[in-house]
Symmetry: C2
Subunit: 240 residues, 2 copies
């Protein structure tokens, strides 16, 4: 006679923008109790998500790195997620909880959705929201993202130049994400629109090597993936 | 001979969407060490921000409620913030740190900006980002906010009907915030656009009395202020 195994729970765990102190109490608790953690990792180098919480991982935890080949402009091959989902499902079916570490928040432009799509139907999944890079960058730059009845648009930098411009024209405030090698294009659009002067540039928010400046003082030719441009078209949001 | 007093630091402390376990480790640490906390409070009833962290407040902490008269559609009179800023400045000048409790994140449509505008020039201010209602609602509804190169717009419900529609037409995904008494108007726009079926409705995310449903199943005539409608115009974000 065998006792039926109770399935484990899958946690999509937001670990915040980078400063380990910006994880939530809930993420902290789950990290200490989940016997398995999975996280995205580059094929060469350390996992950023793991680095945020490494001091909180208990000895003996099983680690499942999800190795994402880095290919500019292309989204990761779905077979990577097929395999990762199978590995995770295997642990869940064995009755073990699994925490998937997600930079920022799991449902804010994150890759967790690829696992969620594969596992949510057959397993119990709980998404634990985290501090997103969006608000971390605003805090670093020292200016509210938006106020009152402003529309705030989150705009990915890989969009075509004309599309970028069209989107920026109808927003009172915007955050341009995934800058990386699109920096020059984005900068050109903002310059042509005459709004570069009031933009903020933030790189690696909340980390020790954080960079914060006005956009016009930033003199790089490209920016890292983990950077953001904050766009304000009106005056100070608190005065009107 | 007197020793010069070192000024205190003002912390804008994001306390997350409602579940006390969704505050950050940093907010938790600062709550236990700041001798003064300030928070918005209605003229009748309890402060929501305070209720989130009440179990973490140490005995003897000085509390400064900032009483905001509730007046539909009008933003609070600036003299409330003038007085609150003076009270807070007084503590900072006396060398005491002050934490201002902010629902969600301090710089995501929050009232903290009114204090920031008054105090940032003369005092050391640190903004501690928090989990915003935006990502908490997506987690509750169980669907990513946006993916890949989608543009995500945050749209305040008080906008005029034609404006609401125009903004929704140019976004792949949107979160409509500050629903409250604007529910009927927003619902009409979404129905007319033929996109209500795929929208999600979330009320009081992460609290015990949280409500989550598809928009078409929600049968209220008005919604509380702390509710959000999530708009998805494409198919499942992870399939394309």
């Amino acid at each position: 006679m065998t006792t039926p195994v109770e399935y484990g729970t899958l946690y999509g765990l937001g670990v915040g923008p980078g400063d380990p102190e910006l994880i939530t109490l809930k993420a902290h608790r789950l990290l200490r109790t989940c016997p398995v953690v999975a996280y995205p990792a580059p094929d060469d180098g350390d996992s950023f998500a793991r680095s945020i919480v490494e001091d909180f991982l208990p000895a003996g935890v099983e680690e499942l790195p999800i190795v994402i080949p880095m290919r500019p402009e292309r989204f990761p091959a779905q077979d990577v997620y097929d395999r990762a989902a199978a590995d995770i499902s295997n642990r869940l079916c064995g009755g073990r909880d699994v925490a998937v570490l997600c930079e920022g928040d799991p449902f804010f432009y994150g890759s967790f959705m690829y696992l969620f799509a594969r596992l949510a139907e057959d397993h119990t999944v709980e998404v634990v929201p985290g501090v997103s890079s969006l608000t971390a960058c605003a805090a670093a730059f020292g200016r509210p993202l938006a106020a009152r009845n402003d529309v705030l648009s989150i705009i990915p930098a890989p969009l075509e130049e004309s599309e970028l411009r069209a989107r920026l024209e109808v927003a009172e405030a915007a955050a341009i994400i995934k800058i990386g090698r699109h920096y020059e294009k984005v900068r050109r659009v903002l310059d042509q629109m005459g709004i570069a002067e009031s933009c903020g540039y933030v790189e690696r928010a909340t980390l020790e090597n954080q960079v914060v400046s006005s956009l016009t003082e930033f003199d790089g030719e490209r920016a890292p993936y983990f950077s953001m441009i904050l766009v304000y078209k009106g005056g100070e949001p608190w005065t009107d």
